[in-house]
Symmetry: C2
Subunit: 719 residues, 2 copies
């Protein structure tokens, strides 16, 4: 994105791009058929469960003024609006933990003011929302999103880890509370005598760890060895919601031996209970708010605006990472404008606003990539089988597959060139043919193992459409009506799910991987090099990595600490904003340029990219793009985030290499595929000849460890 | 072993062999230094915890006549005797689950007879022991152990799985009982009101699953990436006992909020309590047993004799598998004779006898292999470093290492040729040298990564000595005095440990692996081929494997079912004996010879081995023997049991191959190393040139799947 601050320019560009593909956004979704329900259900649960739980948290923190009904309503309402008229439909909206924190800070402030009090709290937040929306409008119109690239990996990953910490904190707090008497309950009830409280706590431990462990396992079902393919697929797609159901069922097993309150379950008023709808008329109260507070509302509003600007844009950015090879354009400015309108709407009807959420948004894209992979695969497999049935040669087979692949590519004005998948297909097929015999001889399944080869060929693509987002928002809305069923879920299952979300968001976060690297024994660091890893592992000295990581960790802990401060905690988004100058002026002085660019590449520091043909030649050496198997897809997409990973790159000694030589500065979507392939081959144990033959580096791990890490590992073991 | 039935011949041979190395059995142990404590503690816990738990079980089943004190005393007494004057010191003795079952059957029979009753129960079992011992003497003198080879893999693995099932059953029963009021307790106690019972049950779930999961994890600590080497080693060596301590400590965390009985802990009389020693005077009661019952004692005695003959010999056999490359001779007959004497001794002092136990005995050998590997490694690394320091060439380095290796090999009359490790060392070093430059140039650590290369070179060897067995027996004896401390262990931790033992015994059991294969999706079966696997996976059609496995599973379930029958259950050892004729006459007719020999090789069916030089040539092709890394050692030794595993063997299409061509019929210890090496290379991702270059088969997995399994996998996906 070019940094441009001409008013309305960004919004116009966004609208122009998205209108072009608006029709295809819908037709594409419907064409996917029932397959669309897998990502829909996955995201629905990932979206609804935190929202339900945040509702519980808000209910405790605001003395019952805001409940699960309001958070669900806001998530559904904003989700539906965004999925229909929003820009980037991959972005998932929801009431997020930072919003809950801000509302808690605001309630704690308002409840003790005699001229506000709990009664006018919602009216006052209405004004906060109005101010927030005005600020968001300004940011959007003035093109503020074009500087989103100044929020480098440093800020994005720090924020990601902060969210993960908040999720984990929620899980631990929740579990500890299971051993205590809840505040707003009658402590004389049977279930609160010490023995039952202890029993409830232990039961909660069983349920939450049960959910956590089984959910983590089920996500990997595709790579299981047991059970038929459809069962494994089903478990991988719907395993997490299934586990919520399973552990809810388990919680009823001892029902006949325990009082009704054991284990504790979700408690929220039904939407049809009296008083549950008081917030709809907030607009009347807004006029009763004293003028001083209306003006004062500007202070929290700036914080929320900063937060939403950052959170919404980063969520959108993470949902559109380069590795996904998206074909449709982004829409940062227009989405921020729309968010402003939704914030006003939520403020006026007294519900907390929803914004783009992490990690659900990248999870959404990832699940759609899996869907697209399945659709493409089924199509190509059918074509290949048909060709083989007709005794086609490898050349013809390739032609037919190319045609079928072409048909799946809807032509779009904004699309990136779509020929990569084909080119690779051709290259590989020819390699295969020459390695196995004549290219014109009829193919059979012995020399061309259809399913396996096609899995190897397919590039990452995403089923970009609006349907899954709309459907999941509608189901979230349906949850408001399904409250009596939701109340059957034990709270302990929620805590387990929170821990699951926190853990699921870690892989692929380089900050997290660097923290792990600090704890890796020096003698085992070479193992990191043997696997897929980011560039910095090879090019940056360990000391620099350690220093950078320790700085970032300290910063993270400060941010986390600030959220604990009673009312000043409202300022924590400022700390995230502050990272931009810190990165640009302080870190740039502390660390050498090439190191910093490998650890945290910022576009504004990068040298212009190499001419494409030169770069391609470079890339060519790193073997063909390939997808190992379905189960690797998860791995690949999770593992990396806008960064290229490799086993042994030609750039083995270049701690002084300029970033320009780094393939990541090339804009073609092909790059990431290519750069992945050595990793994938390694994971597959695939010893294809071009890997060992062509490059200047040997894949044999024992012979050379050319990186800094390898050397430091060796020198530390030899002393 | 040659089948010979000349009286006393077997015992004489055994004694002759063991006397030769008796001195070295002790000096070797003391030379190992403090390292000996790792296997000692590992086996002590693996031995003591089940014995403690079986004591609890016996106490319940015999109305308190036999308790943990008696089972511990028996285990310690027999262990000490066996470790000092026994034949094979790798064999671990203990009171085993089948013994507990037999004693329960006998008690249920005796308690209702008016002329026996609980009072004369121990006296009667004294007679049973006398008869048992007489039978064992006969078996031993007549050379019955020489037919132990007729108990093929079929019987051994079925018995192993039966023991695992009994362990798991004990774990599940124990956990369920945590929710109930124990029989012999006062149900009016606070801890037995419904709420505390439920709390206790849930707490038990947390503790047992906590122990199980952490113990399983800690065994793999050597391959962890985090933490320093000594910490990882410490956790791998002592992790399981440490986890018992940790979870015992955890069980005290809520102590201030719960009544003293929560969670339940081990309950057993202290050995100094009045009445705990009543059994010592059993010999007086033996004379009061009516003559009819003295004669009738012969019936259970035959069952116990059959059981002990089988169990003792199979445990000994499993502790001396070919893959361990033991240097010292076996001692089946003499050990059985000694067992007879110990059975009489135990019978006369009224304690249940101990016999050789599974899985502790193979666990013992395995832990000693790890110890030996560490000792060898440290020595060679020091030598290599010294040579490099002196600017030695690769040739000199090899010479020095050869000398150091030679020094660790104590010359023994019975030892197998010890030159393999060296030969491989030389071959590899030369390969390395030629791949990296001049063999006469000075070596440095860049081209010869000492620790890694040496790990790769070392063959499997076992620290064969008597000290670890003696020490662990002494500590088990010490447990009798440490009863007050043992009583701090929650029973739930025991149940977790039982499940751990059951699961730890599964890997390497081909019967279990075949059961898993039945549940493996046809499209994923090729994954089995990509990993280490047994010969049968490639040579036997899937249908035959399935049929054989279903038969074996049905037989296992019948055996398991019989143990549930109240008194006739005493007959279950007969079912195991029956497997010999079933295998020899029925199965041999149902299955084709070559298939059966791959699934369950019986020595009596095998053709004579090929001449050694011819066979070596064949073996040479399968690359050098190597050890990947410490953590692989576990894997290798656990995975296989007297069977050779490979990735792609030259024998790819030979479902008709004669067993004679199979390298496993060769008696050199080298074979198993060699046959392992492709697996190891694969696991390491090591693409050494000799692997891909020399053989007639290509290691590239995608190109050829020459086995039956691979073909059936493909055909099932293509339909």
């Amino acid at each position: 994105m070019v940094e441009t601050f001409i008013p309305f320019r960004g919004i116009k560009n966004d609208l122009h791009g998205r209108v072009m593909c608006y029709k295809q956004d819908w037709t594409g979704g419907f064409k996917a058929g029932f397959g669309i329900f897998a990502p829909t259900m996955y995201i629905f649960f990932a979206s609804a469960i935190p929202v339900i739980s945040f509702g519980e948290q808000l209910e405790r923190n605001t003395d019952g003024i805001l409940t699960t009904v309001q958070t669900l309503a806001s998530t559904a309402l904003c989700g539906i609006i965004h999925s229909i008229i929003g820009g980037q439909p991959l972005l998932i909206l929801g009431v997020a933990e930072p919003t809950v924190l801000m509302y808690t800070f605001m309630f704690n402030f308002a409840k003790d003011r005699p001229d506000l009090g709990p009664k006018l709290f919602l009216g006052w937040t209405g004004w906060v929302c109005v101010w927030t929306a005005i600020l968001l409008f300004l940011l959007s119109i003035l093109g503020a999103c074009s500087i989103i690239n100044r929020f480098t990996r440093l800020a994005g990953e720090l924020f990601g880890l902060l969210i993960a910490m908040l999720f984990m904190q929620e899980a631990i707090k929740g579990l500890l509370d299971e051993f205590r008497i809840p505040k707003r309950e009658n402590p004389k009830l049977t279930e609160f005598i010490p023995s039952w409280r202890f029993a409830n706590g232990m039961f909660a431990l069983v349920l939450s760890f049960g959910l956590l462990l089984t959910a983590l396992r089920s996500r990997k079902a595709r790579s299981w060895r047991y059970g038929s393919g459809w069962l494994r697929g089903l478990i991988a797609d719907y395993g997490v919601p299934m586990m919520v159901l399973v552990w809810t069922a388990v919680s009823y097993i001892p029902a006949s031996n325990v009082p009704t309150g054991i284990p504790r379950r979700l408690s929220s008023p039904n939407p049809w209970s009296p008083g549950a709808y008081e917030n709809w008329t907030v607009i009347k109260d807004m006029l009763n708010v004293p003028i001083l507070y209306i003006i004062g509302a500007f202070i929290p509003a700036t914080m929320i605006a900063v937060l939403y600007y950052f959170d919404h844009s980063v969520a959108s950015q993470l949902a559109q990472q380069k590795e996904f090879n998206l074909r449709k354009p982004s829409s940062f400015h227009y989405d921020l404008l729309l968010l402003g309108f939704m914030v006003i709407l939520c403020g006026l009807i007294g519900i907390p606003p929803a914004n783009g959420v992490i990690p659900q948004s990248p999870m959404h894209t990832k699940s759609l990539a899996t869907l697209k992979h399945q659709l493409l695969r089924n199509r190509l497999v059918a074509t290949a089988r048909k060709s083989i049935g007709k005794n086609a040669s490898l050349g013809q087979l390739y032609g037919n597959m190319q045609e079928a692949y072409q048909q799946t590519q809807t032509p779009l004005i904004y699309q990136q060139p779509a020929t990569q998948g084909l080119k690779d297909l051709k290259e590989t097929t020819i390699q295969l043919a020459s390695s196995k015999g004549n290219i014109d001889a009829p193919v059979n399944e012995t020399i061309f193992d259809v399913e396996k080869e096609i899995d190897d060929l397919l590039p990452v693509e995403v089923k970009e459409q609006r349907l899954s987002n709309l459907l999941q928002s509608l189901i979230v809305g349906g949850c408001v009506a399904a409250m009596p069923f939701l109340k059957m879920i034990p709270t302990a299952v929620l805590w387990g799910y929170f821990a699951f979300m926190a853990i699921e968001s870690l892989p692929g976060n380089q900050f997290w991987e660097r923290i792990l690297l600090l704890f890796t024994a020096p003698s085992r660091r070479y193992k990191v090099l043997e696997e897929c890893h980011a560039t910095f592992v090879e090019t940056v000295p360990f000391k620099t990595i350690a220093l950078f990581t320790i700085f970032q960790t300290a910063y993270l802990l400060i941010c986390f600490g600030i959220t604990w401060i009673p009312i000043a905690g409202v300022l924590f988004p400022l700390m995230i904003m502050l990272l931009v100058p810190v990165r640009q002026y302080i870190l740039a002085k502390l660390f050498k340029g090439p190191f910093l660019s490998d650890l945290d590449s910022a576009e504004y520091e990068e040298a212009p990219a190499l001419p494409l043909n030169l770069a391609t030649q470079e890339g060519e050496r790193v073997a063909r793009a390939s997808f190992a198997e379905e189960d690797l897809l998860d791995d690949i997409i999770t593992r990396s985030r806008g960064e290229i990973k490799r086993i042994y790159s030609p750039k083995v000694t270049s701690s002084t290499a300029t970033p320009a030589k780094d393939p990541k500065s090339l804009q073609s979507p092909r790059i990431s595929e290519k750069a992945y392939s050595p990793c994938i081959s390694e994971l597959k144990g695939d010893k294809s000849p071009q890997l060992s033959g062509r490059g200047p580096y040997s894949p044999r791990t024992g012979e050379a460890r050319p990186s800094n890490l390898g050397q430091s590992a060796r020198s530390s073991t030899s002393t």
